[in-house]
């Protein structure tokens, strides 16, 4: 299948100036490769600090100035340059961030979802997407601090689907939610994929990833070390890297086999 996003040998490093002119190169992501296909959920699993958010920000060209990036990024078959990313952001490529701190604390939900637009079409679309996630008209009048954790995630998803994106990058959208709410949120990702979008679901929670993903990519210290289907992972088949095997053993039921 033709992929919507291809990442090849991406590396991200930071230059630090320590003591005088001594420059140290801190390499945070090395050799990260993965693909995201339309209609499928690709889960990127890695522990905290393994470089997952850096990948998300690299795709959107949102890395800080002092970051050096190399490698290939292709979107829809063509290089994803900064200019192209800037025109695609918020239209074809959407980020779903972690939580309520990504909403402006001083702005009501409605104008935030609409990005300030006031025309009838935007209002209708906003109503439609909020409705879809079970958020009534009164939610548009709330400020972020008045939202529960689950509501905030649904608002963030609504923000992402306002423009019918073709690629959705969800960076750890579930921490702090109870299992039922988290499962429901994941169901929404699966739904978006079924409607044709490519979904990159980034998480440190392997079990959650297994419940939703069509494909599992394992990230370890800035490198992709494994790519396989959840079914094969569950069965413990073809686990090439020691880290993946450790992950597999960490799942309680596998220790009794």
């Amino acid at each position: 299948m033709e992929s919507i996003l291809t990442v090849e040998q991406l590396s991200v490093s930071f230059t630090r100036y320590s003591r005088g002119l001594a420059r140290t190169e801190l390499s945070a992501v090395r050799d990260l490769s993965l693909t995201v296909e339309p209609g499928r959920v690709t889960a990127l699993v890695g522990e905290s600090g393994s470089g997952k958010s850096l990948l998300a920000h690299a795709i959107l060209h949102l890395l800080p100035r002092n970051a050096q990036v190399s490698g290939t990024l292709l979107y829809d078959g063509a290089p994803l340059t900064r200019d192209r990313a800037e025109t695609l952001r918020g239209r074809e490529i959407a980020l779903i961030p972690q939580g309520v701190t990504w909403l402006d604390p001083m702005m009501k939900v409605g104008p935030q979802v609409r990005r300030g637009r006031v025309d009838a079409a935007s209002r209708a679309r906003c109503r439609e997407v909020l409705d879809r996630y079970g958020l009534g008209p009164q939610v548009e009048e709330l400020y972020p601090f008045e939202l529960s954790g689950g509501m905030a995630r649904r608002v963030l998803i609504a923000c992402a689907v306002m423009e019918r994106p073709r690629l959705i990058v969800a960076d750890e959208p579930t921490p702090g939610l109870d299992v039922r709410t988290a499962k429901r949120i994941l169901g929404h990702f699966r739904e978006l994929a079924e409607e044709g979008a490519g979904v990159l679901f980034i998480t440190h929670d392997l079990e959650l990833a297994l419940t939703v993903a069509h494909k599992l990519v394992v990230l370890y210290e800035g490198q992709t070390v494994e790519e396989l289907s959840p079914t094969r992972f569950r069965a413990g088949e073809g686990l090439a890297h020691p880290y993946t095997r450790a992950l597999w053993h960490a799942i309680p039921e596998n220790n009794f086999l």
């Binding site: 959107l60 949102l62 800037e86 025109t87 695609l88 952001r89 918020g90 239209r91 959407a94 980020l95 961030p97 972690q98 701190t101 990504w102 909403l103 402006d104 604390p105 001083m106 702005m107 990005r115 300030g116 400020y143 601090f145 008045e146 923000c159």
Partner: protein, 328 residues
């Protein structure tokens, strides 16, 4: 609504206590002053030529022989009835003197207050959005220099440049010398207020600019700005940065009232500007207790009123306080 009323009531009680404390402190300080009101106001030579009878009358007028506690309580009880007494120097009711002086200071204070707020906010926004680059470094350098410059020194410098060398602005007073009050035009008043107002606005400016810069920097580093960029939003500065910087800026602005009034004492002195600050200096040096207490209480009330306005506005504007409190 109820909690807002309670909040205001609590603040007003605190204000009453504060005014009491401030007036008592001013009274005690003045009472402990080594300046003898008779010698400063009547003069050593004239005093020597007077009969003991006359001296005793003068001593009565300046309240030299009345015990301190009695004098303060006397002042307090008539003040509570709305009578702030009569100025010993001007021989007019204190309220009238304070009102007139405040009237002539008001434009100075208002201009300085508005200018320092507007310029401070603008400088802070420019510096904060250009962090580390030359506009930021220029503005920070400027602000740090200004905040380490005493305002009376700056006043003298401006006087020398604009009034003495360039001779484009008057050297002092609030109206042209010798002009009849009715013939003074607004333009003339503005010309006379320009230098003192400029000096005064500089006192508050750097504080506001530097704080605004920090806040802008924090906001620009926030997750919600990154998200706005991730969604391809335009007008991020207006839509998100200004919105989040406005509140702290407003609080700073109201809190700076005290600084401006305090600064006006020195600045009016340097420019011989006949305002409240100058009257405070004459009252203090001349042993005019009723006037000094009147001015102290009036300015303390102004400063407190400014802070109260900031608190109330915060509650009205910040949704986290407005709605958060409404629900509890």
């Amino acid at each position: 609504m109820l909690h807002r009323l309670q909040f205001t009531a609590k603040k007003l009680v605190r204000m009453a206590l504060l005014l009491l404390g401030v007036s008592l402190t001013a009274f005690l300080l003045m009472d402990a002053s080594p300046l003898d009101p008779l010698q400063t106001n009547v003069g050593q030579a004239a005093l020597g030529a007077m009969s003991p009878d006359q001296v005793a009358k003068l001593e009565d007028y300046w309240g030299v022989n009345t015990p301190a506690a009695e004098r303060y309580l006397g002042w307090l009880s008539s003040a509570l009835r709305g009578d702030l007494g009569t100025s010993l120097l001007y021989r007019r009711p204190v309220l009238e003197v304070v009102g007139q002086r405040l009237g002539s200071s008001l434009w100075l204070l208002l201009f300085a207050w508005a200018a320092s707020g507007a310029l401070g906010l603008a400088f802070g926004l420019i510096a904060g959005t250009h962090r580390g680059r030359w506009p930021d470094r220029l503005i920070r350098g400027f602000c740090l220099t200004l905040s380490s410059t005493p305002s009376f020194w700056l006043a003298l410098l401006l006087l020398m440049v604009f009034a003495v060398w360039l001779e484009v602005l008057p050297i002092g007073l609030s109206v042209p010398i010798g002009a009849a009050a009715e013939s003074v035009t607004l333009a003339q008043r503005l010309r006379h207020a320009l230098l003192p107002a400029l000096t005064l606005s500089v006192t508050g400016l750097s504080n506001i600019a530097l704080h605004t810069r920090e806040k802008v920097a924090d906001v620009l580093d926030s997750d919600y700005i990154l998200f706005a960029r991730a969604r391809g939003e335009g007008h991020i500065l207006r839509r998100h940065v200004l919105r989040n910087v406005a509140l702290p800026a407003l609080t700073l602005q109201f809190a700076s009232i005290g600084e401006i009034i305090g600064g006006s004492v020195l600045v009016e002195q340097v420019f011989s500007y006949p305002g409240l600050g100058q009257a405070a200096v004459s009252a203090g040096l001349g042993g005019d207790m009723p006037l000094l207490l009147g001015i102290t209480v009036a300015t303390a009330a102004l400063v407190f009123g400014g802070n109260l306005a900031a608190d109330l506005l915060y509650g009205v504007i910040d949704p986290r306080i407005r709605r958060g409190a409404a629900r509890t």
